[in-house]
Symmetry: D2
């Protein structure tokens, strides 16, 4: 078991989760950055290694599993090679998320053709399907919160008309590299919308939900967590009970989805956990439905979900390393 890209925010969470995972022996944590040779001070009690330089030979030397938390172009190049060596690859980048070449070419132009054996890893929609996966493409953060809330309703035929997704994310979602827009003094006391009609997660959401959406992400001055508020009309006659039933059918055996009904979820409920909480309010007179979902962007939206997929792929308890 090795991690490539261990010093970013998602990468550090991977080190933490895998170092304490009962079934895992973390043999190497690699990074291409200047931080090689150093350890991770906050994790010293769990992991006594130091960050190594990215080493393809080692990643292809007979490991069972390799996690990639790299930029998409690096992943696009490295993942097939690692998979060829027999390791199962869990890729946290966007390189392999879009199934259609045209969409992938538009939103991830550096990633080329999709290799064989890629599975988009939405744990709650897979019904198995990871057995033969050579590369598990881990879902994006915004798409995870949106798809878990919307896909069951769309599949059940309850959605009529436009879907609006107003998404709010903590700043760690923008990565570890300092930039003007993630500078503390710019974010503190501030709120902003970005990527309107131009964020590539919209294409991923549409692929997973199965219909068009209007998706606008916002940057909010918190460290971690995503809250998404979704607006749509349901087909006439849809009741709260029907909606509850659809979610119940979808998630009765999903340990990391908590359906909260009319109690709308908040970020604090899910921060530092791998849960996705989903609640809603229906205005029966007008058939307007508002759904709110919340996740920790670094866990259910990245490293936690990757470990959940690893557990499923290797037949471990889905919750191993993620419960507590």
């Amino acid at each position: 078991m090795a991690i490539a890209g261990a010093t970013g925010y998602a990468g550090q969470e991977l080190v933490r989760l895998l170092a304490r995972h009962p079934e895992v022996d973390l043999v190497a944590a690699m990074a291409s950055s200047a931080s090689t040779g150093r350890d991770l001070p906050a994790l010293r009690h769990l992991w006594r290694g130091t960050i190594e330089p990215l080493d393809v030979a080692r990643l292809t030397s007979g490991l069972d599993a390799v996690f990639l938390a790299l930029p998409e172009d690096a992943s696009a190049e490295l993942a097939p090679t690692v998979a060829e060596s027999g390791a199962r690859v869990f890729d946290l980048s966007g390189a392999f998320r879009l199934a259609h070449d045209e969409a992938r070419g538009r939103w991830y132009p550096k990633t080329g053709t999709l290799p064989d054996g890629v599975v988009y890893g939405a744990p709650e929609r897979l019904n198995g399907g990871l057995e033969t996966a050579r590369i598990v493409s881990c879902p994006g953060c915004y798409p995870t919160a949106a798809s878990l809330a919307l896909a069951p309703l769309v599949r059940a035929g309850l959605v009529a008309g436009d879907i609006v997704i107003d998404a709010k994310s903590g700043v760690s979602g923008a990565g570890k590299k300092p930039t003007e827009r993630t500078h503390f003094s710019e974010c503190h006391g501030n709120l902003s919308a970005y990527g309107v009609f131009s964020h590539r997660h919209a294409a991923e959401i549409e692929q997973e939900v199965g219909c068009a959406v209007t998706f606008v992400p916002h940057l909010v001055p918190i460290d971690r967590g995503i809250l998404e508020t979704m607006y749509l009309r349901v087909t006439p006659g849809t009741t709260d009970e029907r909606i509850a039933g659809v979610y119940e059918d979808a998630y009765a055996r999903a340990p990391f989805v908590r359906v909260t009904g009319g109690e709308l979820p908040t970020i604090k409920q899910v921060a530092h956990t791998n849960f996705c909480d989903i609640g809603w309010k229906l205005d029966a007179g007008t058939n307007r439905l508002v759904i709110v979902s919340a996740i920790d962007n670094l866990l259910k939206g990245a490293a936690g979900q990757a470990v959940q997929l690893f557990n499923l792929a290797f037949g471990f308890d889905e919750r191993a390393g993620l419960w507590g």
Copy 2:
């Protein structure tokens, strides 16, 4: 000139704005709370008075103008009496905002019949109309940001279909009284939606915009400021230029509305000012329009707009006391 309700967040801003206003002599700042007899430490350089107990006799003793920043039931009772004395009343509560008795009865049940001489004070939609006002009802914070963005488009016939308003507010909007949901440890690092299908500002927005909306407010961990993201479809063929033209027509002479085009506004641009900034993105292929507006909830959303209305009502420069 006197203020009743001078110790809440909007009330303190009123003291600050009026104490430095070149045309104003602030003779009394009153409150019903335990803070009477104290001064306002942060404002000592501008105002050397102390907070007095609420005194109706004094408020009706021949003042030119009285600002009420009180709970709606207190305003509903007090405003007509003060207006009767000849003072023009600028009321910051919701008591007089809804024109229709049915709506007012539902959302503000303690406020009774609307007295004569009430004008809803949207400075940018009034075209005069304040001359004969005896009670100027100052708009709510969320409705201000929503209506300035939406009303011109609706009037111009550019809106087709549902309007969604996803609003985010700083915590000062919830007032000065400590509660569990405004406790620091509950808000920090957190985000939540509230008042879905049950917030009375929705009725005020619908009155001002002239059509139905879906309105969901959110509490975000900043002190002051509101950002609203609005979603709608425009009539086919609507262009960016047309939208810009509609706003230009509406706000060419409005000193406190800044139309920012494709540069979407942020809270920081408007915090501590009386501006409302409005920007948008149009997806021409699908006619989907996303509009973002931002205000400081305590200024353009409360005390600043009240002073702006006072300036207009008394024929002063609209910007007096508000520019700098």
Copy 3:
């Protein structure tokens, strides 16, 4: 095993830590507040119970251990009764922290005489001593961070002259009850000193460190964590190596103290953990020493340390339930 006071911030952490503790069967979580009958939404995956009303009969019905996270006067009354029943009591209040009656009478006037069998539970200074404890008094949050940093140096005779402790705490340290000073709008963007020469933790620090200190706590706009900066002069000739040696001797077998040398600790390193990190800078020319220590106030400063003491008292691995 039961908890009395399970709905405050420290109490909820206790529920979380004990619900997942491998050696614990949590039979009851009680509170005197209005929240009885409800569950703890964020902890549903770990603990499926509901909060019960405080029930002395049950707390004295043959349990092995009882955790009290109650106001000090409630603890002072309840703890001896519970201890009498044979349960070992882990008390998180200040009721039993001060050994001398005079000091206790001054700072905790409602707590009466110290019962038999009380042990002040500083895990790193105990050298056993919990075997016969009937009531383990868990240290205060500020004293924990201060004493771990200062006590070894004082004992080694390295301190010459005054000790200044400038302490900064997150707002959860002020508890769950909404107040004006913990209202979000008052804390956000703000900093303040409080309790100068009048905070009872100063007495506890002096008891544990063994000499007088000047202690000033500050409220900072973060949710959790304490950082303390300590200023003193060391005896001439004291070197960095000597200081490192003293800490090494004190904490070589203390799993939850991490001595970081010249790398000064930060809150983020310890948040959501039971660690106390300690670093320092010595100005050899002037013998001035600055020490910085950091803890999570709700874990090492409250619930985590209580569980650590429980582990020691019952002979479990000191880290059980606290590592990960």
Copy 4:
């Protein structure tokens, strides 16, 4: 009147303050950065210019006054040239703050010999003295808050023994350039000490206060503001009244210093103002004194104080442009 360095945080405040200043005609705002050619969106209502490239010819073409908010090496080179042209220079960098060559060589090695006509501009300690100044060196942010609190007591002979200054600053004090330590995700929920025994403001404080100090700055997750907590022993017999008297003598005619006695100041009281608030607590039994001072680092700690000095140097009302 021109500004060089108009796009940093202090520079933008200068543009705002000078654009609205009743006696000032701001003819140019320059920057060496990539932002030339752009305007300052938040200030469009006050200033309609665009940022120009740094232009020495223009800065030396007969202006009355030039404000420099540049890195110290740029200031060290540019200020004498501009002063030579007859303009009075208000320099916000550290280039000219330290009077002694040795100290300056150590802490500001790129700045060379001190030119003639430099005055360290502490408005409250000057007693005139700006008439002949050609270059006014504006005090540093930390030294402003420390010296205003300490200098009067030291001069009055009330200080016995060591002075400790524990300073906490908002992140805007670290400037506008994104770095790892000012990245939002690193600062949020975090606190850290830095520059222990190695911050150059310590030398400036010692120069201004007249004795040695131990000074440790901390980075706190707020945008703007500095709070400093100072610890010392007073000479035996010193009373609260004596301390109040010393401050009264020092600041009776200082409009921007507010002595708050036993009510300790907070950041919120001074944010967005040019005030320095000073309060204290004396423990008469032990002669220990704790003083707290607070300023807005960008105003009294930078741009506001520079404008205050400009007012004094040109004989305007000291408060012009700064009151309101």
